[in-house]
């Protein structure tokens, strides 16, 4: 790995509350190269907050700070809002959980992808249409001309997510943040969508941040994993070592999952040791 | 640490209200109300509206004992006096003190607004909730009736009713109520429609709950907040309609100090003696505004979530 695409050091997010501030992220650091980085955690762990903080998509009342938040040479914390607008969707793309909510229900697939294309690359209409159809083909949609004219509600979940990937990857982003991209999909479709996502990201040489609650899925799909709990990184490890994790939290998470290959009597319910979080917030 | 220990020894009302867990149903309800109150206070505009309305109620209750004048007795020596130290808002064409009349008129206005809300609110709520939950022919019939009512502007409708029933304040209240329930019913129906397929209604059905119980205990509580907000916001237009009827001579009759009637009789002196019309006009405006601000703020208050 040479220069990281994205360099995050000591990222903190806090929200105002009754008693001062409540931390959502307490000093998360990582560097992303051309790889698949998984961020796993349960609800409230801050995994989605991390993705949104990088995109600067958090509500204005959130207090975001970091020692470093660099996209290539660009300081994302210092970037003005109009610069961020070009970065969002242009240099960093986000694939969300449910295409039914993330796509505009009143516009056809074609119109939305073409808009994304023209906005970020300044292509002409004809050019944008060609690239849209090519992109739909790239995400393994068999009949791109027909699908291009459909509205989002006419798409199945898997098809919707393919369209979403096509749209987001259209402007060739450097970093793709996928926030639970397969959680709304059926198990048998998940694999295909992940394959497509991976294929596109690799073909375009982008870095992928894969945010998920699904430990086995992240373990199978990613190169490297950050395990988040309470806004902190509990453990960072190679994805293939996820089954041999050392941190008690990761171990407990693994054990709490019903095993597929043998019968257990009772499942392990993880204890959350407050000591894991001590020593971070001054 | 010592401070918390002290307060634990003598639990204050505030601690009881803000305790993280409630120990009785009463405490749980009180805590819920307390959180709503804190949200209301935090919303400045709504709180201002509430203050105005509380003042209005106090004024209506004790105001008549505060002024030395009688709202009805005429004094032709002192007619059309401008605002002064003796008559803060001046006198009208029959020499009656305008402030006194406004204070007495606040009773009429409040009574009309409250009675209309009490009549129209429950009718609209129950018709709407039942129509939304039950569906079928009841829904069709009820909503067509609502459509008929809604196809007329409310003042015109109220005018028609009053014309049929005869002028007077009781008939005005009845007429305004008849024109006020349909929008409430439509709102309640919309809320009921969103919950009829919800899991908690299904769960209650699986406990063996009857349709009546489902509507009263499960659907109504969901409809009530938006209806309360709606009625509060409607108060302004109820007051305006009441004033409009009074203005047209179809509501309260002279010499009653109803604000709309005062405005109507002050109209002919508008160019020479402006305060005759300005005082009741301002009163109508301030109270309507107060109801609007409060209604807007109730949206936050009636939201059950913690912030």
């Amino acid at each position: 790995m040479t220069e990281p695409l994205l360099d995050v050091a000591n990222l903190r997010v806090a929200y105002p509350s009754h008693h001062g501030f409540t931390d959502a992220l307490r000093g998360v650091s990582f560097a992303l190269g051309r790889e698949r980085l998984g961020i796993v955690g349960e609800s409230g762990s801050g995994k989605s907050t991390a993705g949104r903080a990088i995109m600067r998509l958090l509500p204005p009342k959130a207090r975001v700070s970091a020692d470093r938040l660099l996209l290539g040479d660009t300081d994302l914390l210092a970037a003005r809002e109009n610069e961020m607008r070009a970065i969002r969707g242009g240099r960093i793309a986000m694939v969300l959980q449910d295409p039914r909510y993330a796509l505009n229900p009143l516009k056809t697939v074609k119109a939305q992808i073409m808009e994304s294309c023209r906005l970020h690359t300044g292509a002409s209409r004809a050019e944008a249409l060609d690239r849209t159809l090519a992109m739909l083909e790239d995400v393994h949609i068999r009949d791109p001309r027909r699908v291009a004219d459909l509205y989002p509600h006419e798409l199945s979940g898997g098809m919707g997510q393919r369209v979403m990937i096509a749209m987001m990857l259209m402007p060739s982003p450097e970093v793709v943040i996928a926030d639970e991209p397969t959680s709304a999909l059926d198990v048998t479709v998940r694999g295909q969508i992940l394959d497509i996502l991976n294929e596109r990201v690799e073909a375009q040489g982008a870095g992928l941040i894969f945010i998920s609650h699904d430990l086995p899925l992240v373990g199978a799909f990613c190169d490297r994993v950050l395990v988040l709990y309470g806004g902190q990184v509990m453990e960072e490890l190679a994805a293939r070592d996820l089954g041999r994790a050392s941190h008690p939290y990761t171990v407990a998470l693994n054990d709490s999952l019903p095993p597929l290959d043998h019968k257990v009597d009772t499942l392990t319910v993880p204890d959350h040791d407050p000591a894991w979080l001590v020593g971070q917030r001054p | 640490m010592t401070e918390t220990n002290l307060s634990r020894d003598r639990p204050s009302l505030r601690d009881w209200l803000e305790a993280s867990t409630a120990a009785s149903p009463g405490q749980a309800r009180a805590q819920s109300a307390w959180r709503g109150w804190k949200r209301l206070v935090a919303n400045r505009a709504a709180f201002a509206g509430l203050v105005v309305l509380v003042l209005l109620v106090v004024l209506a209750a004790i105001g008549p004992w505060l002024t030395p004048y009688d709202p009805l007795s005429q004094n032709l020596q002192e007619r059309l006096l401008p605002p002064s130290g003796r008559h803060w808002l001046g006198t009208d064409d029959l020499g009656r003190d305008i402030l006194t009349r406004i204070i007495h008129g606040s009773r009429i206005t409040l009574m009309m607004a409250v009675l209309v809300a009490v009549i129209a609110g429950p009718i609209g709520l129950i018709v709407g909730a039942a129509a939304g939950y039950l569906g079928g022919w009841f829904d069709v019939v009820a909503m067509r009736v609502v459509d008929v009512f809604l196809s007329f502007p409310s003042l015109i409708l109220a005018l028609a009713f009053v014309a049929a029933l005869g002028p007077g304040i009781e008939n005005a209240i009845l007429a305004i109520s008849l024109s006020a329930w349909p929008p409430i019913a439509r709102l309640a129906r919309a809320e009921a429609l969103t919950v009829r397929r919800s899991d908690y209604i299904a769960a209650a059905r699986l406990q063996g709950a009857s349709p009546l119980r489902l509507i009263l205990r499960h659907v109504l509580p969901i409809c009530i907040p938006s209806v309360v907000i709606r009625v509060t916001l409607n108060m302004a237009s109820i007051i305006l309609t009441a004033a409009g009827l009074g203005f047209l001579g179809l509501g309260a009759q002279p010499p009653s100090p109803e604000w709309g009637a005062m405005l109507a009789s002050g109209r002919q002196f508008m160019l020479t003696n402006w305060w005759l019309a300005a005082a009741p006009g301002a009163a109508i405006m301030i109270v309507s505004l107060a109801f609007n601000l409060l209604g807007d703020g109730l949206r936050d208050v009636l939201d059950p979530r913690d912030d």
Partner: protein, 256 residues
Amino acid sequence: MTAQTPGLEIEHLGVTFGRDAAQVHAVQDASFQVASGQSYGIIGESGSGKSTILRAVAGLNTEYDGVVRVAGAEVPVPRDRDFFKVVQMVFQDPYSSLHPRRMIRATLMEPLEIHRFDRSDDRIAGILRDVGLAPEFAYRYPHQLSGGQRQRVAVARALLLEPQILLLDEPTSALDVSVQAGVLNLLDGLRRARGLTYVMVSHDLRVVAHMCSRIAVMTGGRIVEELDADALRAGRAEEPYTLELLTASREATAPS
């Protein structure tokens, strides 16, 4: 487990939505039997008709063909009150299955009032303890509870009438895995302690394999295969769809 006492029998169940051209056969000719005290799983993907079966059995949808028998006797359509004392249901989303404006106590009081049970407060405190919640939870509102706590309350509500059969519609799919483990342990323990019969619907093979001894695989409104949990774990399925489902669920397990 007392074998072969009939708990729940479903014969040729069919559910159709819509009319004419827009007709959708949500469930077609589904038949299965669950012995008393057994835990039966139905697995399928979204739109396979698995939840529709549960809703038809519970009587939430009365427009079905076929026969539903509880303890050997056909149940009436629409369901009567006595049915609900025998069969209860837990819903998928604990965030929408509790009335947002009613205190937990009011929610739990409801079945007791309807069926005129005595000692309501004792029963509520007892059932809350049984699902692992302190008695004070009765005085909270749903928005003051976490997802796992809400689902425990929903289980408590279903158990208050002391039913024999519990229909579980994806009871943990809205929960985190660590919370899911607790709720699954609870459900498993309650079944053993009270001799309950479960019909559990899920899209998650792991959950169904863990909880159920016999499992039906559904796709396109039909039950395509029925097999034991051990056979499923060992991969001894015959239908291609079941195998596909198994592979997809395994894929995520085996580190690449």
